[in-house]
């Protein structure tokens, strides 16, 4: 799924500049988490991360784990530092009005599998 489709599916709003991402990057699945170590431990590369956390560390975590995009649930808007860092590391941020459960369900139903497996040992 491309980022434009993800924005559609989540009825979201792109918070980062369009020039600060690769519009053709494919999102292969999803993972929902509010604990950064969970993300680092269980997410696979090229997933969309659904989260309620908005601090800059979310972006750093995503960068380390090769996350393709971040969706903030329940209409949350991150502080400017978070957006700035995301633009710097080319990870698109989206704010969606839906909650985590609803959002996970919608994306899963529309073809995004879970990328929440354990990393290979």
């Amino acid at each position: 799924m491309k980022i434009s489709e993800l924005i559609d599916q989540t009825q979201g709003k792109l918070l980062t500049r369009e020039s600060c991402m690769d519009p053709d990057r494919m999102i292969k699945g999803g993972c929902s988490a509010d604990l950064m170590s969970d993300v680092l431990a269980y997410i696979q590369p090229n997933a969309v991360l659904l989260t309620g956390l908005v601090n800059p560390q979310v972006v750093r975590t995503a960068q380390m784990a090769d996350v393709a995009a971040i969706v903030f649930v329940r209409g949350k808007i991150p502080p400017a530092e978070t957006i700035q860092l995301a633009e710097e590391v080319q990870i698109p941020l989206i704010s969606s009005p839906f909650g985590m459960y609803e959002l996970s369900g919608r994306l899963h139903q529309n073809g995004l599998p879970s990328l929440e497996n354990a990393i290979e040992d």
Binding site: E18, P23, A65, V89
Partner: protein, 337 residues
Amino acid sequence: MRDLNFNDQPPRFKGKVITDQLAGSITRVEELAYIIRIDEVMTQKLITISPNASMSDVADLMREKHISGVLVTKDEDLVGLVSTEDLIKCLINGELSAPVDKYMSTALVTLNSFDFLTEALKTFARTGLGRLPVLDENKKLVGILTKGDVTYGILRALEHDYHEEEVRRYRASHLFEDIESDRTSLILRYVIKHYDFMHGGSASSNIKKALLRLGANPQLARRVGIAVYEAEMNLIIHTDHGGSIHVEIEPHQIAIYAWDDGPGIANTEEAMKPGYSTASEEIRELGFGAGMGLFNISRCVDEMKLESELGKGTQLTMKVFLKKDEMVGEGYQTEKE
């Protein structure tokens, strides 16, 4: 690659003042059209003809140079343009000996050399013309611009963006080959401040970037990045004064050392267990303190050693051994010790 079709001005900008919000949605290609000046991409070599020359001279020139329009200049001033259409009109009248100024068009659309490409794109779209003369501040003819020039100019700029990182990557990946020693290594040093959540992860980010530039494969860079990030966050969260991270990169292995001067860990075995954490509620609200960090590290690296003395400090050593196809420094071969 994005669509580079510039035949029309992007409709969403038509007649709009560019607000901050709108500017935010401009893509790199569009951005470039706002940065590149017309005189940077126009053709400067001009083929011109005098208004007193004959239309048969025009026909010869067009055939010889394979062009479909010739600028007409008098004392270096632009006075008109003859196109194939004008030539056909002249042929129908059987008047090849007529002077150029009888058939040339004088109602000319021109561009300013100091304007940006967006202006040119607008003018191309508005007039439907494919080539436009370019004048400088003093209305002197300095060049001609075609749609092809615009596309080529933008492609070149995009390629340049792309190239910079490629060149850096290439240079870095040859580092180990270009320098001879019995054992070459690259050491990266970082100072991590206590509670610096603003910059937390920037060391890990730089280390990951360095590995990718050195030619490490993305999986390896990811594994190392995650391990260093967990270690970096522990220095930020759990220490008295922060600490240091050193990364020693060799073609066959990467060793990471993270250490601090306190408070130390009472029982390192227990600290390693998944779920064990002494993090405060405040830290948990930031998404940390799940007690998974050290456990994560152990899964990302090949060798890990956690040493600590209460009141003295903590040293964490992590090592990743590289398989042949993972080696940093392209094509570098060395015996494993």
